[in-house]
Symmetry: C2
Subunit: 473 residues, 2 copies
Amino acid sequence: MSEPFVVVGGDAAGLSAASKYRRENPDGDVIVFEKGDWVSYAQCGMPYFVKGEVDSITDLLSLKPDQAEERGIDLRRRHEVLSVNPDEQTVTVRNEDGTFEQAYGDLLIATGARAVSDPIPGTDLSGAFTLHSMDDTAALRAFLVDEAEAEEIASVEYVDGDYVRGFGARDPPETAAIVGGGYVGVEMAEAFSAHGLDVHLFQRPDRLLEPFGEAVAEEVADALRDAGVTLHLDMEVKRLAGDGGRLTGVECANTRLDADVAVVGIGVAPNTDLLSDTDVELGDSGAIAIDDHGRTNREHVYAAGDCAEMRHAVTGEPDWTPLGLTANRAGRAIGQTVAGDPEPVGDIAGTAVVKAFDEECGRTGILDHERARDAGFDPVSETVTAGSRSGYYPGNAETTVTLTADRETGRLLGGSIVGTDRAAIRIDTVATALEAGMTVAEVERLDLAYAPPFSPVWDPVLVAAKVLRGSLD
Amino acid sequence: MSEPFVVVGGDAAGLSAASKYRRENPDGDVIVFEKGDWVSYAQCGMPYFVKGEVDSITDLLSLKPDQAEERGIDLRRRHEVLSVNPDEQTVTVRNEDGTFEQAYGDLLIATGARAVSDPIPGTDLSGAFTLHSMDDTAALRAFLVDEAEAEEIASVEYVDGDYVRGFGARDPPETAAIVGGGYVGVEMAEAFSAHGLDVHLFQRPDRLLEPFGEAVAEEVADALRDAGVTLHLDMEVKRLAGDGGRLTGVECANTRLDADVAVVGIGVAPNTDLLSDTDVELGDSGAIAIDDHGRTNREHVYAAGDCAEMRHAVTGEPDWTPLGLTANRAGRAIGQTVAGDPEPVGDIAGTAVVKAFDEECGRTGILDHERARDAGFDPVSETVTAGSRSGYYPGNAETTVTLTADRETGRLLGGSIVGTDRAAIRIDTVATALEAGMTVAEVERLDLAYAPPFSPVWDPVLVAAKVLRGSLD
């Protein structure tokens, strides 16, 4: 009998792979080792659970453990894979009973990424969160609500009840410090504001949501300020301060803020420790290098999701942009490939959207000029503001679009969008054009939708293409 | 001195051409002849003015006559071009003083289309409207509101005051008959309902919005019925009945409905009468045949907008789909070409969106299998229903997507979408993929946006591509 397909990590990539493998190959064995209690949870939904917009933390699970079992997946929670031996085709696994070796026919590393908080001392203080685990998420919401509601959260299946109850018993915080102005920071500003906290956001760079470019950053900063959030831009947090193990504030070089709760969202790093004794290659980003079918340099060893690089659609080069769809798609493709029907994992365009109070933000491709030049392009950008609907139709809202293209070829390299009326989803038009390798002239001539309630005659994306093309001539 | 650039028709295509020509060539002369009083009005906005969502009828004007003059356009309203003489490079024009000949250097025919009501007798009855002119639109709203508000509409500049006042003085209608279930019919059902009328919609085919396909038609029919509209599908209206010149009802083969007001929207036809004595070629559709720069078969004679054919992006063949963006874009390109900087008019994909009460509908490309087969494809379609947002996020709504592809090549041929949450604008993703010539597999691998408030991990378009690809294998 052949050895099983072994998957390390029970989140998006791992369970997508296992599920697809079983669908394609109902007689095949697949074992999924998951270090923790939780599997297949929607990290992107966490701020909305904290905010209170999502009722139950289990709503964030896209696949519950018993559902995985129903699909014929041998799911083993609280099993940590410590190391991989590609020569022997085995992994070393630790569970509560000790360690053991598990042989594999094919192996998928889907260990994800972890929140980085290293440069900032004090993140272990009680009241400081990185919002990267389900139990932290449950505890943070329990901290914000009354004790009765906290008890409800604590008693949900899989939740670490004692940890959560500890926060439920404390007085709700009044001042929140957010360290980092990326997705998590911006979304948590909204979540804390919904609970009536005095919210302070500290960002080391001089703008929020850096990958979205300047135009989006400005609109988002305005939206946060309008909502009462105090922004501390261009300000580095040196450490979180505490007293008796509890967070009391954050400290910068020349200032200090008293705070009862803090969320640190300053980045993530790929989980690759289990490969440290192998010759499985990592890319320049530190994430695992893979080919177009998700294969590493070692036979029968695949990687997918937040721990792996992907090829960028614009540069054709490896890139590390950990995002949900990428993990799901690559996992699914590898499950199919391992089952015997090779399927490419696809490229990424770095398409991302985020909500900042009422502002909808989107970005795709390469916007940063330095990065574009590094990839051999001569970037030119234009930013326009145009209506989201016909000017006479109620609900028309200003929509700001930036497009970047290569001067010589006219090829579209990237784009961003921000606005309050159906703005975010319009980035998909730009992402599609990008992946098709379209020029700005071709984008300008796209036959896009027009009807007064939804779009003006010239969609903001077309207006931006028109202006950018003028600059390329 | 060279002869002027002469444009026939002062709406989207004509004024876009004249404006662009003047921008590129500030010393050039351009004359626009417009038969009526109104120029550059947004036909797509008319139902929303009737509904009351757009305050003033002049809001529908994208360019007022004095603005055209400011751009250096010699705009001559109430000037009808009766005929064209391509050999002499002249047009014959009639105004209130008589007729005269005007020489041209280049000529653009931008005469648009007219509402077709010929097969149905009685559309000349007072109370029957085709909603194709601004005065009709003004009169219809005046009919629906009280006399004071009607007087306001009647006294607006450019409006035919006496015509409008006549309707304002009448008792408001209680029962509305809509003949035709296309864009105008569906939008007018919403407009009449907003005024509290008992609304009946008659449609000769067995479904609404035929170009949008069956899946959209079903959702739209449900939405209209839920809003209290009585649908008479598969029912041909034989004639409009009247008494003393006023509409009293509509008559079908076996039934009759008493009605105080009727809108007939059963189609449009290109205005080409002025070319009947020339050898300027028309296409199979009856609209004017043009090349990729908008040139007809006669030198210095161009055509654009609702009177002209365009090349279809999927078939590569001429097609007649009169829509607003097409007219604007082609007009603008021809203005640039005539100014000396040749610009292609672009292809069309037949992208269209329409609002049906709360349902947002979109379509693009070729959905109809018979038409796809005529174009040499072997069409396969799949329809899926998926969420518009993450399932746990408030506001998630069912979104139904149909995609059609060619079995042999996997090339995407067309798509449709319907749903209540940001559905319509998603058709732009499909339109872009279509114009890029993408296969369904390539669409399935698109790196589209994901964030719980805006889209699930797998956007409905990706879900549809996944399912359709399964059917192609």
